[in-house]
Amino acid sequence: MPVIELEDLVKSYGPVKALNGLSLQVPQGSLFGLLGPNGAGKTTTLRILCTLLEPDSGQANVAGINTLIDPRAVRRAIGYVAQEVAIDKILSGRELLNLQGDLYHLGKNDRDQRIEELISRLDMGNWIDRRCGSYSGGMRRRLDLASGLLHKPQLLVLDEPTVGLDIESRAAIWELLRELRRQGTTILLSSHYLEEVEALSDQIAIIDQGRVIAKGAPDYLKSQLGGDRVTLRVREFSNANESEKVLKVVQSVEGVRKVVINRAQGYSLNLVVDNEKVLTRLRDQLDKEQFGVFAMAHSRPSLDDVYLQATGRTLMDAELEVAGKRDMKLETKKAMR
């Protein structure tokens, strides 16, 4: 049974439609990645899941419990690590964890033992008794992970868990997430980092403009796109005439699906081919036709290609498009109760 079932969620903020019929199922025990550019609706989805927001229509179930019918049971099942870490600067990390434990009604012994466990697992011993105001971004994120994990939730929900973090902290968090998954915790994380979703998730959903546009295992999605990518240059700087000739040559090779001349890159050729074996045939054919090979680069399709295929733009372009349009004041207001 899926741990999370989202059905046709719709949510608007005034004229802005944040979610537009989003449906999703997250299977038990998976490490599930929500990938999408800023403003795609990832945070809104997670907020509905964590009972911070009510959808305009549609419904969300966590472990078979409807978020609107029994929100307390949902809250107990979830450990939520928000994007902007809200901590009380004047408390120490340990005091914050104590507070968190009381809010989840842990018994005192239970709580203290669990806190010790997390302090050593997340390597927080050196600074946990210092005031939170002095923590670095990585420390804060680790403390927030600890407070999300304190009550041993069956579902961990993380909103952009490593955004703005140094490489070391990021690696440490990735490792912890993998370990938690091995121990059976279901994890849902949102990210606009391709490599993060690709490195961690066994299932992903790509979100764009408030709906799911693709879902499945990353490898499956890439293979669905079909074909490998090849960039071919017969010379470092070719010309229109020559590239047309080469195009005709490679087009006839068995296993080549599509060829495009990339004028911006010195008339190199971008090919979509069936598989790696086509490369040998390409070399042979070019050799036969008296063309040299200056460079031939081969790559598997990336998740960005998946995104490109579904939306007609790259993730980077989508980010740039919304970058100037974000209304930070409105977003703060959305986050406020």
């Binding site: 472990a63 078979g64 049971a73 809250r75 939520y80 901590i87 406020m336 109760r337």
Partner: protein
């Protein structure tokens, strides 16, 4: 499904509703006090400001003709009751600020994703905290007033002071918490506090009796909630306690001690019913 839900129900039946409510309210209250101990400046300022009022304002009018004041009391003794009430009032008016900051910084969201037995515990914690602080500040003022020779109420009087202050603090705390959820940010809340504070003080009987005021100001003072708290406390300081005697000669009629307390009680209950739907809406 069965395994997932059974984990949840077993943990929710682990404790009774009351002990969960107690645990979360205690934890939230403890947080507010930890903040206070580590940043005591607001507490100190909250005691210093009324002390300065008491000393400077008391000195300013110490030569006021005695027959101006009821019962021919000294101005210092007259002022004492006003400053005690003003202290409790401004302390309670600030109750919404920590809540507003929690809203703005997202800490409230941390509380809202937790499976609190009742979100009223967030409000309870604020009320407990502010009540303790306001009473402490008022006691400090009472102690100083005593040292300045402005007297000390008897045991029954002290009880009356306590009851009066509690009623006022509850009412004003409810108002401030309501504002903390109704206003968009702390700037607006501070502006309201700033604007409300001094005019309410001047338009009350804290600094001068109604008989001393022009009639329009007398009207204002006679409907000002602070007046209904000041007069019983002043009576507690004046001598043997008798709530039956007339305390306020208002333009609309005379009011005795019971009348004053009833008005305060009605105000507290009224504000409670006015504010709680707002809090419910914002917290659920």
């Amino acid at each position: 499904m069965s395994s997932a839900t059974s984990i949840i129900t077993s943990s929710s039946s682990r404790q009774s509703a009351f002990s969960e409510l107690y645990q979360e309210t205690t934890a939230l209250t403890k947080r507010l006090f930890l903040q206070l101990f580590r940043r005591p400046s607001t507490l100190i300022a909250g005691i210093l400001q009324p002390l300065i009022w008491l000393v400077l304002f008391g000195a300013l009018f110490s030569n006021a003709p005695k027959d101006l004041l009821p019962g021919e009391m000294s101005y210092g003794r007259f002022l004492g009751a006003g400053v005690i009430v003003f202290t409790a009032f401004s302390g309670a008016l600030n109750a919404g600020l920590p809540v507003m900051f929690d809203r703005e910084f997202g800490f409230l969201n941390r509380l809202l994703v937790a499976p609190l037995r009742s979100r009223s515990s967030i409000v309870f914690a604020s009320v407990i905290y502010i009540t303790v602080i306001s009473l402490l500040q008022s006691l400090a003022i009472m102690g100083t007033a005593f040292l300045l020779g402005y007297g000390w109420p008897g045991p029954a009087g002290l009880l009356l002071v306590l009851v009066t202050l509690l009623l006022l603090v509850f009412a004003v705390t409810a108002l401030s918490l309501g504002l903390a959820f109704a206003l968009p940010g702390h700037i607006e809340l501070i502006a309201v506090i700033f604007v409300a504070n001094l005019p309410l003080l001047f338009a009350s009987t804290a600094l001068a009796p109604i008989s001393f005021m022009p009639s329009w100001l007398g009207w204002l003072a006679a409907v000002n909630p602070l007046t209904f708290a000041i007069e019983p406390i002043r009576a507690a300081y004046a001598g043997p306690l008798d709530l039956g005697i007339i305390l306020i000669h208002a333009p609309y009629g005379d009011l005795n001690g019971f009348g004053c307390l009833s008005v305060l009680m009605a105000l507290t209950i009224g504000l409670f019913f006015l504010i709680s739907p707002l809090l419910n809406r914002k917290l659920t």
